[in-house]
Symmetry: C2
Subunit: 357 residues, 2 copies
């Protein structure tokens, strides 16, 4: 499909009432319209359309219900104080969607066309973008198998859809430091699996450990690698960073970790501030040792939904590691302020990350 | 939900034309009716109903499209020469469905109620069960998350559905021995993951390796373990058995392998025939060594769809192992004849496996 393809647009005749800031929450309310296109072997991606937000009808044998062939992305649009609408590195999300598509044997989409479609959808639903501090419009592009067939094989038909949800802060506690459980029994992903792709199965897999952790009062799981159960991978739906003895360390991308766009942005920000940063393998034992030596200075997760989530406490087996007295650290705060500032349009974007509508 | 709950039944007024034996294939045609019930936190499983086979309508934010929370089962109903309808160990499938449900944080179903529901559905659609040799009615119970919400957490609402498909032979080649590629790069499952559950993500994960293998002329992948990449796990959607020097060996259930019902039945059949059988860890190196010593006598996969699939050739790195001159082995043939005989009602069931309608 070429990017010059036109998108049929059908506007709603029954616009919904918009939620108040108090009602926002995360992922509960959806805008008036959605973007959708279909894939068949014969026609490729076709029938691109913007239509009123509406239910999807599928055969009970549609492969998505059975064999998990699905991928998704998550990004945000922001309203600047001047009232402009802007996206943060959206081309990265569509690129990653295609990386996920490839891993899951789903046909690639035209990234530029998808971005154009998103911009059209945004301009139609722009009144849905909240402007209060901390709020934004969460954007969810996703693809899944629709072929009505029982049998393990890549499907012959798919939907690609974009829906949008006005959101408040992801963590109800705001940016307060959270308690994290380091998981020793369950495994999120292993090299050779789908950890690098944003596919439903990874998230379904993680629910069990998350449920146990949350009963014990922890807000997220810190995952270790699946082979040796010692290397740190990521935390919940976020990449993880540690500041140890003045140096910032994050696990290197190894094939089982999602290549977070926030992670990449943090690495650029840190380098631009001349803070030492390392991407490498790091074991949980190294973190515990740093803690015992008193040089574990900060820890935080990064992701689109939360931007940054400072880690106040880590539990590994019988050891409880309190980080920075359970307070948000200096570097963490600086990264949060800078990145959210760039995203909201209150800090200058010297990286070329912002795409205006 | 108690098993005395009634099931509302609404029969179709437009029955479909049934496929001929030639048209059957696998998983392409579906019977006139389906069973369905819904789960909410407030009501538990409720609204059990048999309705005409029809599309399912879901909000675009329904969690199944995003976070992969789904499980399924596969079993068969057979028509005996006398015209009776029978199921093979169906209680095992509903038990395993609940094991999968538990791993995926999906609320358990009442197994006895589900079996009763299936029997009612079967009695309504019994004319759809083909009776030609090798044919059967494939039954697909499945559960998935329906809550309209973006956020990684167990859903608050689900569908449980049973659909049924008249099928011919799973492998178009019949029971001819197949060529299998031993996978060294991709990993299906790792201990601590979801390998033991029948959930969509496991199958989506496997597509990439399967696609590569099939381009090279192999019909399935033999998976090795995710930690050390040397222990044999399973093959495609089947468990695997080797006959080495007179002894039958199958990988022990270790948490990352599906506990196949056909596998369990084969173990019982082998013991009843006084054939030595071992469930234990077995490396690919041991199989290669047995081949080189000339004592790799038979190899086969087992599963509901194919019952048995003899393996004629295994490829591991640069070594090609031809098993039993590419012919079906004696024990493989005996197991196939006995088990399909019991399932079709032509061999006496001394195990209590058959459940008559
Ligand atoms: C598993 C996982 N890791 C990390 C991230 C962070 O990625 P990003 O910064 O692109 O949002 C996400 C998603 O948001 C995720 O789902
Ligand atoms: C991954 C996997 N292994 C093994 C099997 C065999 O299980 P069963 O004999 O119960 O059909 C199946 C399914 O049928 C499967 O999907």
């Amino acid at each position: 499909m070429s990017s010059t393809n036109t998108i049929l647009t059908q506007l709603t005749t029954t616009p919904k009432e918009k939620p108040t800031v108090e009602q926002l929450g995360f992922g509960k309310h959806f805008t008036d319209h959605m973007f959708m296109m279909d894939y068949t072997i014969e026609q490729g991606w076709h029938n691109a359309r913007i239509i009123p937000y509406q239910p999807i009808s599928l055969d009970p044998s549609a492969m998505i219900f059975h064999y998990g062939q699905s991928v998704f992305e998550g990004m945000k649009a922001y309203k600047t104080p001047a009232g402009d609408v802007q996206l943060f590195r959206p081309e990265r999300n569509f690129k990653r969607l295609n990386i996920s598509n490839d891993r899951l044997c789903i046909p690639a989409i035209d990234e530029q066309f998808a971005l154009d479609a998103l911009k059209q959808l945004l301009s139609i639903d722009k009144d849905w973008i909240p402007s209060e501090p901390g709020t934004s419009l969460y954007i969810r592009p996703y693809t899944f198998a629709t072929e009505p067939f029982l049998g393990v094989a890549p499907a012959k038909s798919y939907h690609f859809i974009i829906i949008m949800s006005p959101v408040g802060a992801y963590y109800s506690e705001g940016i307060n430091p959270v308690k994290i459980l380091v998981e020793k029994q369950y495994v999120r992903a292993v090299v050779g699996g789908t950890g690098e792709a944003k596919t439903g199965g990874n998230y379904a897999n993680g629910l069990k450990a998350q449920e146990i952790a949350s009963k014990e009062g922890y807000s997220q799981i810190l995952w270790l690698d699946g082979k040796e159960n010692r290397y740190i991978e990521e935390v919940g739906s976020m990449n993880i960073f540690f500041k140890i003895n003045g140096k910032v360390i994050t696990p290197a991308l190894n094939g089982s970790i999602l290549a977070g766009i926030t992670r990449d942005s943090m690495l650029h920000l840190l380098k631009s501030k001349n803070i030492d940063v390392e991407e490498r393998r790091i074991t949980i034992d190294e973190v515990v040792q740093a803690y015992e030596e008193g040089i574990l200075e900060e820890a935080f997760g990064t992701g689109t939904a939360a931007v940054i989530s400072p880690i106040g406490q880590l539990k590994w087996q019988d050891t409880e590691l309190t980080v920075n007295d359970g307070q948000i650290g200096e570097v963490t705060q600086m990264l949060y302020d800078t990145l959210t500032g760039i995203q909201n349009g209150t800090v200058e974007d010297s990286f070329g990350w912002i795409v205006k509508l």
